[in-house]
Symmetry: none
Subunit: 136 residues, 4 copies
């Protein structure tokens, strides 16, 4: 294995396109949401809490993005019986709530997006719309 490998990083330009596309899709559906985008290490890159969404939704939405970035999977992958111990083991940074998707570039995960505030299937649709806006 080499000492250093090539990878990619999402820019603020890309993050803002994702915010825009998510907002537009959320308005189309008529569900105000919170949008969070994190980098490959789970640090926040962009965030928007839409008018009409709930302020307590901010935390789990950031966790959705972090979980998808870390585990390179859409959130909700844990079996119900494993959920609590994993959440506690990871100091409550992980969530099993659906609505988080990894940001994949060339087969590699470079971050995550979380959407919160709509029903789970619509959170996912909004996250997918955000990913589709990226110029890869």
């Amino acid at each position: 294995m080499p000492d250093i490998v090539a990878t990619h990083r999402l820019t603020d330009e890309g993050a803002r396109k994702m915010l825009d596309a998510a907002t537009q899709k959320a308005r189309e559906i008529g569900k105000p949401v919170v949008i969070a985008i994190v980098d490959a290490g789970g640090a926040l890159v962009a965030f928007l809490r839409m008018e009409g969404s709930r302020f307590l939704t901010s935390r789990p939405t950031i966790k959705k993005a972090v979980t998808a970035a870390s585990h390179r999977l859409p959130t909700g992958f844990l079996k119900p019986e494993a959920e609590l111990r994993m959440v506690l083991g990871m100091d409550n940074r992980l969530t099993n709530l659906p609505g988080g998707l990894p940001i994949v570039v060339g087969g590699e995960v470079i971050g995550g997006i979380g959407i919160g505030g709509a029903p789970p299937d619509e959170d996912i649709v909004i996250a997918e719309a955000a990913l589709a806006a990226l110029d890869r």
Copy 2:
């Protein structure tokens, strides 16, 4: 005094105009920054960490926005000898670093914006550009 008074609230539409204007001004100046916008209660509404800024800058930038929203003043208003005791008294949510401005509508503070990562005077110029973008 009445039991209830009228107030205003920043929407995500307004927050995004501020993100856009701050980003544009930061690029013009050539200094990548972190941008944070909070509501009248100090909760995050919008956030963007520009490509080239530093990840440790995120926390103090959010604090600048929170401090400006709470105290209804540009940050940096504390005398140096009062700074440490006030920061500690407020559980380190307040900062005296310049670069936070209140968002004022009709003489009323409805939130705060913080900019971090450029020299203090440029952080302030970028925050002012963001405020100027708001359609009041």
Copy 3:
């Protein structure tokens, strides 16, 4: 600005070469140290606390690595009068102690290394020996 930019990532292979080189240099000098290596987002990649070093040294050593990775500079860059407010603003994740160096590949910072436990100039010499071991 593009939505996505190319970058690099340190592998565990590279991190272990750095641990080895730092350990060897520390033995040569005769000063047992703590060694911490973090990625571009400040998350721990590798850590070694040498026999004879002090257990309280672990925390500041990790902070040296995090600070160098975030600010893309050798630690110790803050003026003494700015130190406390910056440390508090960044929730005590930043340190101004010398002994942290950015890991630079092709002009880009992909992480940081911190060394703690020897006098500052020797911490730096050990960190430099670790960086020199990387096959870039």
Copy 4:
């Protein structure tokens, strides 16, 4: 009982042999993992996050090592109905996730190793490979 008793301590030399053996076994199996080694007091001695493992895995892996060192048992020893109250009682430093093993020398526990990121039975196999590398 005497006032003071003899004991043993793992050196960085021993810890690095363990990191090497764990890494090699993990590669053999084809599962990238996080490796954490702590002393008899639960303080971190060595850590390595392998390329391809998940950053959220770092915390539970350190907890596995800490739990095994404290309780002198392989992790996973709690009955499911006792798990939550014990985890909470111990301020979430204990985990019941399998993959932590005590480091035993002459019948005495001198630390713990935690492996995280592979399925539980493979985490244990990798931890055992690390223990086997120690020259006792």
